[in-house]
Symmetry: C2
Subunit: 326 residues, 2 copies
């Protein structure tokens, strides 16, 4: 069927081992044979079977990416930057979407583990302990979450929230609401923590509104609760939720930002396209992926070292039309 190293060897009139050397360590063979092998490989269209190679070298050349929901525009951005950086180092990407189900994460990782050299876990929803069980077994870098004994890349939510709250405070708001994301999301807890600190230090009231799915529907579902609350501004777990709020508020005829100001988180593409534009805390999505890959490559190279590097990337408030004076 497919062309193997033996076919190349036969055509070039050398042994398989020489073919391997000619292609991998060109300076270990005579220029003449090297040329013969190369042209034979070219003629037959030979590409080594990376799986077979991986069997013996222990390196597959693949990295696994696990994320909760590809339909959330935040993740494709991250994946894209992972791809770009991975390809630069000749790695291919295995992608898995868990559909926000914590229960499938661990089995998925286990099933994929032998086919990849390491994992990038984006916003994993499983419990710390379940994930920690992999410590030392498979190189892993966690994105958008911090877990002991794993390197991680996170955004500085606390500072982002501080910027957002400062902005709202300056506009005269004193009571704000937070629409929380999934209970299993570390980012949600992190953002809430940052928000609480910020509102406390500015002496503002904070109303928490139930946990919702991190989707547009999640936002629309609680928009009326926000209206009914005493808050004059609302911060959402992420942009999708914020957009859901925005949509429902407009449908109810509530003036944004006149009556209620809305702030999102992530700065996905949509945020700049809706009307009014969504004020949001931007995360450097391309950075997350790139830094994640860098960390993972280091970890895979160094092997043993605990390598609990923690990169915290800056956030930046992007002010658009959805926030205004109280």
């Amino acid at each position: 069927m497919a062309v193997t190293i033996k076919d190349v060897a036969r055509l070039a009139g050398v042994s398989p081992s020489s073919v391997c050397r000619a292609l991998a360590n060109p300076d270990q063979v005579r220029p003449e044979t090297r040329e013969r092998v190369h042209s034979a490989a070219r003629n037959l269209g030979y590409y080594p079977n990376r799986a077979a190679r991986g069997l013996i070298t222990g390196r597959t050349g693949n990295i696994g990416v696990v994320l909760p929901d590809l339909a959330n525009p935040f993740f494709p951005s991250v994946v894209k930057s992972i791809q770009t950086q991975a390809r630069r180092f000749d790695y291919a990407v295995f992608l898995s979407d868990t559909d926000e189900d914590p229960a499938v994460e661990v089995p998925l990782i286990r099933a994929l583990a032998k086919q990849v050299d390491g994992f990038l876990l984006c916003s994993p929803r499983a419990g710390d302990d379940e994930i920690k069980a992999f410590a030392g077994q498979t190189p892993m870098v966690v994105l958008n979450r911090r877990i002991n004994s794993f390197p991680s890349v996170t955004a500085d939510s606390a500072d982002g929230m501080r910027q957002a709250v400062a902005h709202l405070h300056a506009l005269g708001h004193r009571r704000v609401a937070y629409v929380a994301g999934p209970r299993t999301s570390w980012s949600n807890r992190d953002r809430l923590r940052g928000l609480k600190n910020a509102t406390t230090s500015y002496g503002m009231d904070l109303v928490e509104i139930g946990n919702v799915a991190p989707t547009v529907e999640g936002g629309t579902a609680v928009a009326d609760l926000v209206i009914a609350s005493p808050a004059t501004a609302v911060l959402a777990y992420n942009d999708l939720v914020a957009l859901g709020l925005l949509n429902r508020l407009q449908a109810r005829g509530v003036d944004v930002p006149g009556r209620i100001s809305v702030v999102g988180f992530d700065d996905i593409l949509l945020a700049g396209l809706v009307n009014p534009g969504l004020t949001t805390v931007a995360i450097a999505k391309e950075h997350i992926g790139r830094v994640g890959v860098e960390l993972l490559l280091e970890l895979m190279a160094d092997g043993e070292r605990p390598a609990t590097a923690r990169r915290v990337l800056p956030t930046q408030l992007i002010v658009r039309g959805s926030t205004g004076p109280r």
Copy 2:
């Protein structure tokens, strides 16, 4: 390092071959040994190395997905449905983003070919001939494009365009513009063809406006050309381009749909969230992925058969606020 079949065999006190049988064909071993093997595997946390298995069975259990740009929200939707369907049949997904560069497609496919059982090519940008070179070698299904000798899944653009044009015609529009997508995109040619047929049969004038990148920026870049044209309505290659137009039109103070109506294509999530909502031709994105996987599985099972199944999925005009009477 990792636990192999031998470790399980040793712990269970049987040979590796028996372990294999106990796990793969449970009825070929005595219940007692089967139980011993299972518990040994469970205790050690044994998961077979799929790459090694693939070497001998010829099946990797992976399918490769190649697409031009994950940042276009259309593709994540498709990928997600591919994932879902693939997992149902115990397949994992290899993802590759080509960054709209036709030149990297073929090398990418070749490099991945040995690691997957088949490919789903989403909107491939490479030339027909380059792709045809794979015919018979690797099972492949093409999405959003038709290529001889490959099964394909496409949307019925012609009908979608007919619906859109009928809608605009009924609103009184007689001159429409089309903002074309990438020259290398089959969908672009297909949509343009459908549009031409529709405008001709309705006796309407069609202005074509240059090829742009299939992004928001592509749309904003030519919005002023649209304004300067005699058209009272514009159809865009896809929703991103339409949103770019919409944005720039609003920035220039052009009334939509009062002065110009805008129609997109794809019905991505954003389309329903902007203001005014974007009238667009919806494609069943989840269907594309699902049907694509189904076709690929059939193709991989049947092997030889030409299998040039061509599924054309229906399109549906979604009318929102961006279109109105002339």
